[in-house]
Amino acid sequence: MIQNQGEMKLQHNHIKNKIMDFKKTLLEELDLQDIPNEKKKELLEKTADVVFGNVLLQLLNELNDEEAKELNRLLEAEKQDEAGQFLYNKFPNLDQMFDAEIKRIKEKLINEK
């Protein structure tokens, strides 16, 4: 679960640096930093929904029939951890898949603004 001190410190610094790097946020790039917060939430929800759905489609398309059945079975049996384990084993690059999809959506939003 929680890593050792050295790893955690490294991760903290990494997170901090990464956050500091994002001086210009997506909302700023879209000139939407001044919109009402409710609207921001709405956009966030829609964006997350699109990202989530697209990654989900990618994952499902990558699964073969047996794998899809197995995942369904695990979820129906409420074996969430096993489902997660199954998914992670199948897609060790899941994190990057999200990154790529978010990057794509971001570029699209900026290009079409």
Partner: protein, 542 residues
């Protein structure tokens, strides 16, 4: 040709003229031979001027042999000018070359005239000397108009070798000019007006320019052939369309100005309001009613200008298009996958809905999840165990509707937050001033959890008791997250900084001491967090 009536005075004058001409020619050629380019252009210009001044007037009476000698000399002289002029073309820039070309053309014309004079004089006697058309030579304007430049360039291109650098440059300039003449009528009008102002009324060029100017301005009346005064630039005639355009332009400018002032004023008012609300919030600490009122004030919609509305609409349109494409793609899945997709998507949507409804902070649960689980925000999947950790943490809560989709959705949300929506942290509203505090709450929470994880026997014991239903580590983390999330959200900036410092020092005793000092209800909060964790986290962190 004989000069039968030549008087001694005339003869003397003619001889002096010839002598002066030959002397001048000699001096000019000497100067020219020493001249380096591009000064050669000026030399040539002077030479032509000298030629005009010094050459004996053919209308005057000359002895035939004298006239023939003069004509021969002049012919030779002109040929030399032409040759030198061609040489000078090689090293000067395009404008100089054009000027040069004009001079050469002038010399060539002069030569042609000279041939005519020679022919006429030799064949028809001196009573009918040819009248040299000096008008064109004299009235060529120093400033080349676009039309002249086009003409000169075309002439130059006809005589030059295609493919040479000069040829290509001249061709490029010609293309530019021809493109401009079609589209830049105003520029042409301006150039023509300038030319007319500086030129001699009545000359062929003057008349031609006047005619062209009338065409461009849409005037149909015949131009005056010999105006007594040079024309001055007249304002364009006002038409209903032009008046309307002017009014619209002025209105637009005024609108832009007013909008800018309005936006500036609104910005100032917003800033002032936010500052006031921040102050009130500090003062209202513990007063739930007042805090709720402040929150509602913050949540009130703020005016947005048309441009922002447009940007929002554009972003929404893009996302809607993406969503529609997604639906179509999902429709094409086979039944088992479609069922899986719909189930997960539905649960995923529930995650955000519940999260928004919590009112604690849109992204805090996911940011916390990421920070505690490791990997989402920083190190990445390849470096640690992100998804499983996230699942472990997510499973603590039944509120989010299902851990598997919740974890996935949480990943999307966390990453988006990292990308720029992170400002929504802290009550789901933008708090610019708070962001200036260099305390990252999830990070601090992580630090605190880490500081307590291995040594806090109470939480470890608590977690072990529930090992049948939940992973011990996950339980402990859930408890710690709940506890510190509450604590952190209840503290001010200074205390958070101090807490951050203590967490980095791993000073648990001081952390507890500080929390108990700053939050009188801290012990009760610990008990509440334990209870909530036992019950599966049915209550949102507050």
């Amino acid at each position: 040709m004989e000069n039968k009536e030549k008087t001694p005075e005339q003869e003397t004058t003619n001889r002096e003229q010839i002598s002066s001409f030959l002397e001048k020619k000699s001096r000019i050629l000497e100067l020219e031979s020493k001249a380096d380019n591009p000064a050669a252009v000026d030399t040539l210009k002077r030479k032509i001027e000298d030629l005009d001044i010094e050459f004996p007037n053919p209308k005057e009476t000359f002895a035939r042999e004298d006239l023939e000698a003069i004509l021969a000399e002049k012919e030779k002289f002109l040929n030399e000018i032409i040759k030198k002029g061609h040489d000078a073309e090689k090293d000067t820039n395009i404008r100089d070359r054009l000027q040069n070309k004009r001079i050469l053309q002038k010399a060539l014309d002069e030569l042609e005239n000279l041939e005519k004079i020679k022919a006429e004089l030799l064949e028809t006697k001196k009573e009918e000397p040819a009248e040299p058309e000096k008008e064109e030579l004299v009235d060529i304007p120093e400033t080349i108009s676009p039309e002249e430049e086009v003409k000169a360039l075309k002439s130059f291109l006809n005589e030059s070798t295609p493919g040479s650098p000069l040829y290509e440059e001249a061709k490029q300039r010609l293309d530019e000019l021809e493109g401009n003449t079609e589209t830049s009528e105003e520029k042409e009008i301006e150039a023509l007006e300038g030319f007319l102002k500086d030129s001699t009324p009545g000359s062929p060029f003057y008349t031609e320019a006047q005619k062209r100017l009338a065409e461009l301005k849409g005037e149909t009346k015949t131009p005056v052939e010999t105006p007594t005064e040079p024309p001055v630039k007249e304002p364009k005639p006002e038409t209903p369309e032009s008046i309307l355009k002017q009014v619209i332009d002025e209105s637009n400018q005024e609108l832009v100005k007013v909008t800018e002032e309005f936006n500036q004023r609104i910005g100032e008012l917003r800033k002032s309001l936010d500052q006031r609300l921040d102050e009130l919030e500090k003062q209202a600490k513990g007063n739930a009613e007042l805090l709720a009122r402040i929150e509602s004030l913050r949540a009130e919609p703020k005016p947005v200008d048309q441009e922002i509305n447009k940007a929002v609409a554009s972003a929404e349109a893009t996302l809607n298009k993406e969503s529609n494409n997604q639906d179509k793609e999902a429709e094409e899945l086979d039944e088992s996958r479609k069922e899986l997709y719909e189930k997960l998507k539905k649960v995923g949507k529930a995650v955000i809905t519940v999260s928004l409804a919590l009112g604690v902070g849109t992204l805090i649960p996911y940011a916390s999840m990421a920070a505690l689980g490791g990997g989402f925000l920083g190190v990445g999947a390849g470096a640690s165990i992100p998804i499983l950790e996230a699942l472990g943490i997510a499973s603590k809560s039944t509120l989010i509707g299902g851990p598997f989709a919740g974890a996935l959705y949480g990943m999307a949300m966390t990453k988006l937050a990292d990308l720029g929506f992170k400002k929504l942290e802290g009550g789901g509203r933008v708090k610019e001033k708070k962001e200036s505090v260099e305390i990252n709450k999830p990070e601090l929470m992580n630090s605190l959890a880490q500081a307590f994880y291995n040594k806090n026997t109470d939480t470890a014991h608590l977690a072990l008791k529930f090992k049948n239903t939940m992973d011990a580590g996950a339980m402990q983390q859930a408890f710690l997250e709940r506890l510190f999330n509450r604590a952190i959200n209840a503290l001010d900036k200074e205390t958070l900084e101090e807490l951050d410092k203590l967490a980095k020092e791993n000073n648990q005793e001081k952390i507890v001491e500080l929390l108990e000092d700053k939050i009188p209800e801290f012990n009760a909060m610990v008990g509440k967090a334990q209870d909530d964790t036992k019950s599966g986290g049915n209550e949102a962190p507050a």
